[in-house]
């Protein structure tokens, strides 16, 4: 299959970026990132610099990869990450527009790579349960209702990719924050920190993310399909 690609190229945070056009011929079994690998091989062979993009595990779990494909964070195949998009998913499209996450809180480092350090700062503000190594009691001392544990798990599956921010017209990180707050605060061990939601939301503001105004675009693109009901649960903890 032959595609016309429009890929965002930008030298660094200070320079101005632009779309550049490339043509490529790949089989439908190729993953989208493998298609970019092949394009990079061609670019290097032609003495050009390879396109920079983030990736690591390539099995949809590490949260590194982050591309907006034809306007959709992580691409058209829902419920998964960029690395799990295959060219067969785009069989009926001739042109692909590929860009980085766009948000003030995520400055572009180069081409398709953005700096997501802001997410680290949010977790550092209180996205943890304090427990000294070695001081924990026997694990089965506190039984946890399976439903509670399962619900906490649903939130804990967040991979921190930040597609929720990229999809949000406000570039808000509320779903990311809510996922962390609900994961920890539902569990008996995490209930102690009553201020967790407030601390994380304050950090979110400080890092330059917008607020939530219920567009619900975030849950549409979340590769782990985390529901906006996590936000409702978090809001209840706030007041």
């Amino acid at each position: 299959m032959i595609y016309k690609l429009h890929i965002w190229r930008q030298d660094n945070v200070h320079s101005k970026g632009a779309f550049q056009q490339y043509d490529i011929d790949v089989s439908e079994d190729t993953s989208l990132l493998e298609m970019l690998d092949a394009l990079n091989e061609q670019l290097i062979e032609n003495d050009k610099e390879a396109i920079a993009f983030d990736f690591d595990c390539r099995e949809g779990i590490c949260g590194s990869c982050n591309l907006v494909i034809n306007g959709t964070p992580h691409g058209k195949h829902q419920g998964t990450t960029t690395c799990q998009q295959y060219m067969r998913d785009y069989a009926d499209e001739a042109e692909l527009w590929i860009e980085p996450w766009r948000a003030t809180a995520f400055p572009i480092i180069k081409d398709l790579i953005v700096d997501r350090t802001a997410f680290e700062k949010i977790i550092q503000a209180g996205g943890f349960i304090e427990i000294r190594t070695g001081s924990a009691g026997e694990a089965n001392t506190i039984p946890i209702d399976k439903e509670v544990s399962d619900a906490a798990f649903d939130s804990a599956t967040c991979i921190g990719c930040a597609a929720c921010v990229a999809a949000c017209p406000n570039a808000s990180a509320t779903l990311f924050v809510a996922a962390k707050v609900t994961h920890l605060s539902m569990l008996p061990q995490g209930k102690m920190d009553k201020k967790r939601a407030e601390k994380l939301l304050t950090a979110m503001d400080e890092q330059g993310f917008g607020g939530c105004s219920n567009y619900r675009e975030c849950e549409r693109v979340c590769p782990k399909e985390i529901s906006v009901s996590a936000i409702t649960v978090m809001n209840r903890l706030l007041y």
């Binding site: 670019l43 920079a52 690591d56 295959y86 977790i123 694990a139 089965n140 544990s149």
Partner: protein, 652 residues
């Protein structure tokens, strides 16, 4: 540390405590020195790699009050490849009342490793396993639970008890998030200074002791030296030497390899685990292989067509009596749950007979079926979906087939490396002040790792062993003044700079780094994969050498070394893989026996099983860099079995 042994050969001291096995770690902890809380702030610790082992070690050491500096090449510690571990983590809790105990977990792990691991280390691992679960639950790791609210367990490859704790198919992710959050707290508290997108280039030695590292900022290209009192490497395994593996693309051996070239012994490099249940390769552009959790073998049945003529048929068109459930046939006692090395070799055997299914790679169909029809019939679709739903979805995305209706196709792939930096009982390498934890060391898995043991080892090392042993080391050191400049640091930095220049300016640039990597991968997979043979290994060594020369002449890197340049990053890692690959083959050639993952064609029993030679090879092969890559020096650490008697593994 290196001295001749009484037998005349060179040996190494593992500093293993003596006495009863149960008391060794307890006694050793008491014998070790501690640093008073008031003095801890004076010591600086560098931790390279922030996966399970690195993040848990850094968090624990930071919490104790040391100054910790951490480094990872990813954009966040939360992305380390520990995250991809699906199946679970073992612990001898005996919640199922099925006869499990620390002794049984110890025995299973030693036996599973085909008697090529140290008894003392493995016992300590089993002993610490229960504390890991307590720690993780307290951190908010949402392990699977029964309706009663208590923790659930399942059985896992190679074990006859249910001791595996799991979090759907995402156990590694949940445990890593726990360790990452603990680390984040220490960053917030100021005890850890973390550097993301920053890769270790080399180790700085002062008077033979590890006193720092040179790092490269992957965004700016800047080289920088960092000084400390101790360096801990938790940089993972080297499975990506094979190019195609289940490792994340960024996983590399550079940190351990560069430490090796500075004097750290490299142990059992040929012990590489080939995992039986991975999605088969489908094309040339493929960049990595994806593992399907071993837990699938609890309910899935592995089969291939009995007759070659059926291999092109659709699986549903092959009648029940024409299917060969070969693991159940060959190993009736364990069936589909035999250890990984045994399952992988059986799959290879079937495909070599020409009974493989699926895509042909180089003219051979490499795949067998993993079938859930029976399990769905017995337990119902919902039960199977609850257990494996996310794995089935993953398979559907990648293979474009629905495992609920069509059996999965699987084939073995490189997954884990048991070999790594040689460490003593304290997890210190042969370089004074250099420690190694997690997959980066060789310590606990012998010649084959059992399922759900990697997470256990990474966290035992990080949460419980390194904090004690690193403290013991520091208690005997005078803190280094890290504000001073050291000529050794400057020299190491200069050497790193030159190496990068050499890569950037190959005399005859023609081929991309990946092109070389793919070729290297093919050579090493053929020679040092599921089956090894003298003549093939010898040829591979010659091929690796000549390809390595070509690499340094012809590698082509575009862009600059002063900005983010992923082509350069890859080239640096591949350069190290080229050197390590040769050592792997030399080690495989020297080990004239079969054990665990290491199957030498010359040493296979009549019924196709691995034949160990305990009289000659019951040792850890620890290799020293001699200045000549092709002439490494072998040190043998003899393995004494005081508590278990090495027997032939029998899973029939």
């Amino acid at each position: 540390m290196l001295k001749p042994t009484s037998s005349g050969s060179w040996g190494i001291d593992s500093h293993t405590p003596k006495g009863s096995l149960e008391n060794r770690w307890t006694q050793h902890k008491f014998d070790m020195k501690i640093v008073s809380p008031a003095n801890r702030k004076k010591y600086n610790i560098i931790v390279v790699g922030t996966g399970l082992a690195g993040a848990s070690a850094a968090a624990s050491l930071g919490e104790m009050g040391y100054n910790v500096k951490t480094f990872c090449f990813q954009d966040s510690p939360r992305r380390a490849h520990s995250i991809a571990a699906q199946g679970g983590i073992n612990a001898a809790k005996n919640y199922q009342n099925d006869g499990d105990s620390v002794w049984r977990l110890f025995y299973d792990t030693i036996k599973g490793g085909d008697y090529r691991a140290r008894e003392s280390n493995v016992f300590r691992l089993a002993e610490l396993s229960t504390s890991i679960i307590d720690q993780a639950v307290a951190q908010g790791v949402p392990f699977a639970r029964e309706y009663s609210g208590y923790l659930a367990n399942r059985s896992f490859g190679g074990a006859q008890v249910s001791r595996t704790f799991y979090a759907r198919g995402q156990t590694g992710q949940q445990l890593l998030i726990g360790a990452y959050q603990a680390m984040s707290k220490q960053i917030a508290d100021g005890t850890i200074t973390h550097h993301s997108r920053c890769e270790m280039q080399d180790l700085i030695l002062i008077d033979g002791k590890a006193k720092g590292i040179v790092s490269r900022d992957l965004v700016t290209g800047q080289l920088e030296s960092h000084m400390a009192d101790v360096v801990v490497l938790c940089t993972g395994g080297y499975g990506n030497v094979f190019y195609l593996s289940t490792n994340a693309k960024g996983c590399n051996a550079s940190a351990v390899w560069r430490a090796h070239k500075q004097g750290a012994l490299f142990a059992n490099p040929c012990f590489t685990q080939i995992h039986p249940t991975c999605i088969p390769q489908h094309g040339e552009l493929q960049s990595k292989l994806t593992l399907m959790s071993e837990s699938l073998r609890n309910d899935g049945r592995i089969w291939a067509p009995k007759n070659k003529k059926d291999c092109d048929k659709k699986p549903e068109d092959i009648a029940e009596q024409d299917r060969d459930y070969f693991l159940e046939r060959m190993y009736p006692a364990f069936g589909n749950l035999v250890p990984r090395d045994i399952a992988s070799r059986a799959v290879k055997l079937i495909c070599d007979e020409g009974r493989g299914v699926g895509h042909a790679i180089d003219g051979q169909k490499l795949g067998v079926y993993l079938d859930f029809a029976k399990a769905i019939e017995v337990h119902g679709l919902d039960a199977i979906s609850e257990k494996y739903g996310n794995l089935f979805d993953m398979y559907t995305h990648i293979a474009a087939e629905d495992p609920y209706t069509t059996p999965m196709r699987i084939y073995p792939a490189v997954h884990y490396t048991m070999g790594g930096l040689w460490v003593d009982y304290n997890l210190m390498t042969s370089i004074d002040g250099l420690f190694a934890g997690g997959e980066a060391n060789f310590s606990d898995h012998g010649a084959n790792r059992l399922g759900a043991s990697a997470l256990m080892q990474g966290l035992a090392d990080g949460y419980f062993i390194l904090p004690s042993t690193v403290s013991n080391y520091l208690a005997q050191q005078k803190p280094l003044d890290i504000t001073k400049t050291y000529p050794e640091a400057e020299q190491t930095l200069q050497a790193c700079k030159e190496k990068i220049q050499q890569l950037m300016n190959a005399p005859d640039p023609q081929k991309t780094p990946d092109e070389f990597h793919r070729k290297l991968g093919q050579i090493i997979w053929q020679a040092c994969g599921m089956a090894r043979e003298k003549s093939v290994l010898e040829k591979a060594i010659a091929d690796i050498k000549s390809l390595r020369e070509q690499f340094w002449q012809q590698v082509k890197i575009t862009g600059s070394d002063e900005t983010l340049n992923q082509t350069l990053e890859r080239a640096g890692r591949i350069a190290d893989f080229f050197e390590l690959a040769e050592l792997m083959c030399i080690d495989a050639l020297t080990r004239e026996e079969s054990c665990g993952c290491h199957a030498r064609e010359e040493h296979i029993t009549n019924d196709g099983e691995a034949q160990r030679h305990d009289d000659d090879f019951s040792y850890v092969a620890a290799w020293q860099y001699s200045g000549n890559l092709s002439m490494p020096v072998l040190y043998r650490e003899e393995l004494d079995f005081e508590f278990v008697r090495p027997t032939t593994r029998n899973y029939r």
